[in-house]
């Protein structure tokens, strides 16, 4: 169901410290009006508003999304509050879904598939033994394994297993042909909730009624600490220290026991089992088993989830972010009405949005994150440009080209809610309370990651995207969204949440 939100007023945004959007009644403020903002900021900017209206998609097969910018010229009536909004643009909902889907797969391609392809050769025996272990579980059972990563699949085949290359969202197996399915450390690499649900549904499809599925994912709650956020980029450490290597041995037998108990719980007759796994279990233990000395090498990059990037609940756009995007793409000097190239810009948008989602190449402390801001704001605080842009007598072509309002629809949407990226160093407190508070705030925050930093991965490391799961999150996901599965057990197993579920017959009236 789409939400409908109408902002009758412009909001202003504090541009110095807190980056929060505040509702304002007057046209130009010099002081941050929010009582929550503790900063003594002097500079604020007007922020154009987004209005989205839509119809519930339950009633109609298609829905339309309207994006409106109040300061633009021309106009159609806003069907929510009757005020005159300037340009109403319609974007078919399917286009949004496609955009989101593309962004999600792009992210996974760059931060899961290609990383595993690169690091697969480094998977030596001690790290890798966990995966073959799943395939070695029970010789009486016919097992099929699958993965997207070619080198890993090759390795499994060389060990004598029947394996295929395939995508977890589109499994090439017929319905109901397996008695058991194992998904070890796979779901957490999918970048949106919707894709995670789809993957689970796909696996359930291949299960026979009465068959069981076991899913292992990384837990947010680790032994010594929690991840601060659920969506993270984890660097690949090619040189595991011996302590963690040693630790790897220990839990593996336990996991095997767990898997075997599942075997026994299921009918003893020979059966099919399907195994999917993308990372070695031993690898996961490395993370929880790091000693303090190793911690300085560990940099987790936190990010906003891709779901929230496309969440249009309550929004405000930052002009500077429009500028950020504009600098990435070819200068948008053209006027509005250039519909032909809009689609092309949509394509570019995917890259831009995704690239903003990626961790920057070098992150220091909070201060670094904000350092780039004054430079960007220079043009914006130019009174000539700023004032005019916000009133109805806006001149579309004022100031530098990238400040022009005539950015394409796609770019506008892309400039929403850029993810905030915080480096988290273990045993190091994040600096700047204010910044922290801002970043954890519910409002959409601006990433001050300037374009120069945001492209490409962190130097010298392969970053893997993970969505780590909270307690109960996976079970809830299955219970609420996958009706053909019924959760049987949930437990925590050494930094992983595990859920065992059974396929049930679903009756449709």
């Amino acid at each position: 169901v789409w939400r409908s939100t109408c902002y009758g007023f412009d909001t202003v945004r504090c541009t110095v410290r807190c980056w929060r959007a505040h509702t304002a009644g007057t046209s130009l403020l010099s002081r941050c009006p929010s009582s929550r903002c503790r900063c003594r900021c002097r500079r604020v900017e007007r922020v154009p508003l987004i209005l989205i209206t839509g119809r519930s998609y339950r009633s109609e097969p298609e829905r339309e999304v309207y994006l409106q910018r109040p300061e633009e010229r021309g106009g159609e009536r806003c069907n929510l509050h009757g005020g005159r909004h300037d340009t109403v643009r319609r974007l078919h909902a399917a286009a949004w879904t496609n955009m989101m889907e593309e962004a999600a797969s792009q992210l996974e391609r760059d931060h899961v598939h290609s990383v595993y392809d690169k690091i697969a050769p480094y998977f030596n025996d001690s790290r890798y033994k966990a995966w073959p272990k799943y395939l070695h579980i029970n010789e009486e059972v016919f097992k099929l394994g699958c993965d997207v990563c070619r080198p890993l699949v090759d390795f499994a085949w060389s060990q004598g297993h029947e394996v295929q290359m395939c995508d977890g969202l589109h499994l090439p197996y017929r319905d109901g042909c397996f008695d058991a399915v194992l998904s070890i450390a796979v779901i957490h690499h999918l970048s949106t909730k919707e894709r995670r649900i789809r993957a689970i549904k796909e696996m359930a499809r291949t299960l026979q009624v009465g068959g069981r599925i076991m899913i292992y994912v990384w837990a947010m709650e680790q032994k010594r600490r929690r991840f601060e956020k659920q969506d993270i980029f984890v660097p690949w450490n090619p040189n595991p220290h011996s302590p963690s290597g040693f630790k790897a041995e220990h839990p593996a037998p336990r996991r095997r026991a767990a898997a075997q108990s599942v075997t026994e719980a299921i009918d003893n007759t020979d059966k099919h089992r399907k195994v999917r796994s993308t990372s070695s279990v031993a690898d996961e233990e490395d993370l929880s088993g790091t000693t303090p000395q190793q911690s300085t090498q560990r940099l987790w990059f936190f990010s906003r989830s891709l779901d929230s990037v496309f969440d249009f609940g309550s929004l405000s756009i930052s002009r500077s972010s429009s500028r950020d995007l504009s600098t990435l793409s070819p200068p948008t000097g053209e006027n509005e009405g250039n519909k032909a190239s809009r689609r092309g810009r949509g394509q570019r948008l995917i890259k831009q949005v995704s690239s903003f989602f990626y961790p920057p190449s070098a992150i220091g402390s909070e201060e670094d994150v904000f350092d780039s801001v004054p430079g960007l704001n220079k043009g914006q605080n130019d009174p000539g440009g700023n004032n005019n842009a916000t009133t109805t007598t806006n001149d579309n072509n004022n100031g530098p080209a990238n400040q022009t309002v005539s950015v394409s629809l796609a770019q506008e949407c892309g400039s929403l809610a850029l993810p905030d990226l915080v480096p988290f160093q273990e045993h190091l407190k994040p600096s700047g309370d204010e910044g922290r508070g801002g970043l954890q705030g519910e409002e959409q925050q601006q990433s001050t990651r300037s374009p120069q930093g945001s492209e490409g991965q962190a130097e010298g490391s392969c970053l893997r995207y993970y969505h780590v799961f909270r307690e109960g999150e996976l079970a809830e996901l299955i219970e609420n969204h996958v009706e053909e599965l019924h959760v049987k057990h949930t437990y925590f197993d050494h930094a992983n949440w595990c859920v065992v579920a059974e396929k049930v017959q679903v009756w449709r009236i």
Partner: protein
Amino acid sequence: MKLLTHNMLTSHVKGVTKGYPLLIKATEVKVNEVDFNPQFVTRMIPKLEWSALVHAAEELGQRQDLPDELVPEYENNEEFLKKVHRVLLEVEVIEGCLRCPESGREFPISRGIPNMLLNEDEV
């Protein structure tokens, strides 16, 4: 890729309704020796699509005298079970491709591994 695996695989190209069974075009086939386990074979037979298995074996020229229909009381028919065992587990396609019967899309098999990944436009 063994024929037992092939029996489970289907084409999942977008829009395809009848993507099973996949047609096999093999350029390299290997026949290994695998330990015969009559219980395993007996229990596996009900899970198979028998006609698809026979068809696949025929495509590879390995059908020998496998019957069109399942033999009744096969649990005690060791000869029959041995034939099934051979076709299921001993015949392996190393190089070749799997073809979707409806769309014609070909999934390559290389080094014994079928690549069922779809392109973006097929999803």
